[in-house]
């Protein structure tokens, strides 16, 4: 039977590969053509030479790490609680986490700016000063926006991780052995989510580093706007940076694969 489906499998394999490889190959070849008539890495050298590159890249990395920390604090307890107490609500929560893609980023950033550029008052009492006045508080807004953007990936990753274990029974087993909520989260749930959290964090990282809209509108010196700026002024360098970013992705994918493989037995053991 395996033989019978193989033409089918190959058809989709080839189609899928072409779908991803053709644009990538085009971009790569293009990035090597900065020097007319010959292939060279000149575009890469030029791209890395700009001090702005290192500066914006570093800034985005710091923002990415902050985003990961805050979204973990938000997502892990929520997803755990949903799994444990209201599993029927899972599709609803999942849908809510997908909202960032339904509300375009541009609308999200409008809402953030409109709301927090004035002092926030509840029933006439000021509970929060305007946040867009200093760069520190604007960074806070930026991270808040990024947390929303990263929600779908982070939630999905954690949700998948929780689904792979029997959350309810493990929790009850730990309770019957005298463990409280803190111990259960820290000693049982988190260790078993290790590879899921890593995968979510890596994805969040990649998204934040490349994000354009929110960073632009909040006027922060991030890598995304820098990439777009180069795209407007230069021809070959954006292609080079795209290839670099793609390379980093595959590196991350390799890491995830290794880590997941190391834990393979843990999940397959359930069968």
């Amino acid at each position: 039977m395996a033989r019978r489906v193989s033409w089918f499998a190959w058809f989709w394999y080839v189609l899928g590969a072409l779908y991803f490889i053709i644009p990538l190959w085009g971009t790569f070849v293009f990035s090597l053509q900065k020097e007319r008539g010959t292939f060279s890495l000149a575009a890469y050298q030029s791209a890395f030479a700009d001090p702005k590159f290192a500066e914006t890249f570093l800034y985005s990395n710091v923002m990415a790490v902050l985003t990961i920390i805050f979204s973990l604090l938000l997502v892990v307890p929520t997803a755990y609680w949903v799994h444990l107490r209201v599993p029927r609500m899972r599709p609803v929560v999942e849908f809510i986490t997908l909202m960032p893609f339904v509300i375009p980023a541009i609308v999200l950033v409008f809402g953030l700016i409109k709301t927090f550029s004035r002092p926030l008052t509840i029933l006439g009492v000021t509970v929060l000063p305007p946040l867009t006045n200093s760069s520190l508080s604007t960074d806070f807004l930026l991270v808040a926006g990024y947390v929303v953007l990263s929600l779908p990936y982070m939630y999905r990753a954690v949700d998948n991780g929780l689904r792979a274990m029997d959350v309810g029974t493990l929790t009850e087993a730990a309770q019957s052995l005298g463990a409280g909520w803190g111990t259960i989260l820290w000693r049982i749930i988190l260790p078993n989510l290790r590879s899921a959290l890593l995968s979510g964090a890596l994805l969040t990282f990649a998204i934040v580093v490349g994000e354009l809209t929110i960073a632009t509108f909040l006027g922060r010196p991030a890598f995304g706007p820098y990439l777009a700026l180069i795209g407007n002024h230069k021809v070959y360098e954006p292609a080079a940076l795209a290839i670099v970013s793609f390379g980093l992705t595959w590196l991350a994918m390799g890491i995830i694969d290794r880590v997941t493989r190391g834990q393979g037995g843990t999940t397959t053991g359930a069968h």
Binding site: Q175, G178, A179, T266
Partner: protein, 356 residues
């Protein structure tokens, strides 16, 4: 006073039409092994989970060791629990799983180590302390789960269908092991199962449940031989149960499958001639009639089928339009009757149960 007392315990789940458990009252003595036996959805697991603290009773009291525990959190009750799905922590080794409860309680490291060694010896897995759960077979995982539950020296041990996920052969050997360990430690134990053989073979007392209520509480021998309700009689063990017409209540005479049969006259008290009663007979209490001998209470029929169950050969005998099961103990020289042949079976009046 009993070690564990449940008094009028009731549980209604939100949005449920009927109560999952109704008016459950039971006293369990220290060191006793009690089974909750019944079909799926009879409330046995819900009751166990209320004792463990995973469900809160809607009404009633649960008292353990002289203290009301209904409102205590599960992690304060010091009750060990073993689950059907083992529920070992996948990120910990066997030794860490067993030591987890003591570690949570802040026991010194040397104490934990000593207790883990002790437990590994108890479940005969001394060599496997460093393994991870996924490296063990199902039976080994469940033994580790048992050791983990016992390691904390719980006041009470609860087992929720611990053998259901295992193969038939391992089920039998592990149940004997569980019973031996329980005897050795003298730990008060409640065992939930839907398998009547498991309940009968393990327990000091069996609680038969159906539709959320207790049908009967008693020793295995009592439950099996003197069931109080038709449900208990038919759920526990194999049974011939057929309608019979009372011929003479005072003399203990009924008509069953066309034959006049003697039953204990006391069992017909309150019935009159012409009433319909249910007469129940265990297949192993029916004997193949020795040719030529004259005995009372005989039924003659045609052999429909002979099923060989191992230690027992079960003869399906068609008497009129009812099928009567007759069990014979196996032996290598056994001559089973041919299908289609005529056979006469007999039984004592005392072995007849009259229900309803």
């Amino acid at each position: 006073m009993a070690f564990l007392s449940l008094t009028n315990v009731r549980k209604v789940f939100p949005n449920a039409q009927t109560a999952a458990v109704e008016d459950f009252t039971l006293d369990v003595e220290k060191g006793e092994f009690v089974s909750f036996l019944g079909p799926s959805g009879c409330g046995k697991t819900t009751t166990l989970r209320m004792i463990a603290g995973f469900e809160t009773p809607t009404a009633g009291a649960i008292v353990m060791d002289g203290k009301e525990i209904s409102n205590e959190r599960p992690n304060q009750r010091n009750i060990g629990m073993v689950f059907q799905s083992y529920a070992l922590f996948p990120n910990m080794t066997v030794a860490d799983n067993i030591g987890f409860g003591l570690k949570v309680k802040g026991a010194p490291k040397t104490d934990i180590k000593q207790r883990v060694t002790e437990m590994l010896a108890l479940i005969k897995l001394e060599q496997l302390g460093g393994r991870y759960p996924y490296q063990l077979s199902g039976g080994q995982q469940q033994r580790v789960a048992l050791a983990r539950a016992i390691a904390i020296r719980p006041k009470l041990l609860l087992l929720d269908e611990p053998l259901s996920a295992l193969d038939a052969k391992i089920r039998v050997s592990l149940r004997n092991e569980i019973r031996a360990i329980q005897r050795q430690l003298g730990i008060t134990t409640i065992y939930v199962t839907h398998d009547q053989e498991e309940a009968l073979s393990l327990s000091d007392r069996v609680v038969v449940m159906n539709h959320g209520v207790i049908e009967q509480v008693g020793q295995p021998f009592e439950i099996y031989n003197f069931p109080k309700t038709a449900f208990t009689a038919s759920f526990v063990g194999t049974l011939n149960m057929h309608d019979a017409t009372v011929l003479d209540a005072a003399a203990g005479e009924v008509r069953l499958a066309g034959a006049s049969i003697a039953v204990p006259s006391a069992a017909l008290g309150g019935h009159r001639a012409g009433d319909t009663v249910k007469v129940a007979l265990r297949p192993e209490l029916l004997y193949v009639h020795p040719t030529g001998a004259a005995v009372e209470n005989t039924l003659t029929g045609v052999v429909e089928n002979v099923a060989f169950l191992g230690a027992v050969a079960r003869i399906h005998l068609a008497v009129g339009d009812t099928t009567i099961l007759v069990d014979e103990f196996n032996n290598p020289q056994l001559s089973v009757p041919a299908i289609g042949s005529t056979l006469t079976t007999y039984f004592t009046p005392e072995s007849c149960m009259v229900l309803g």
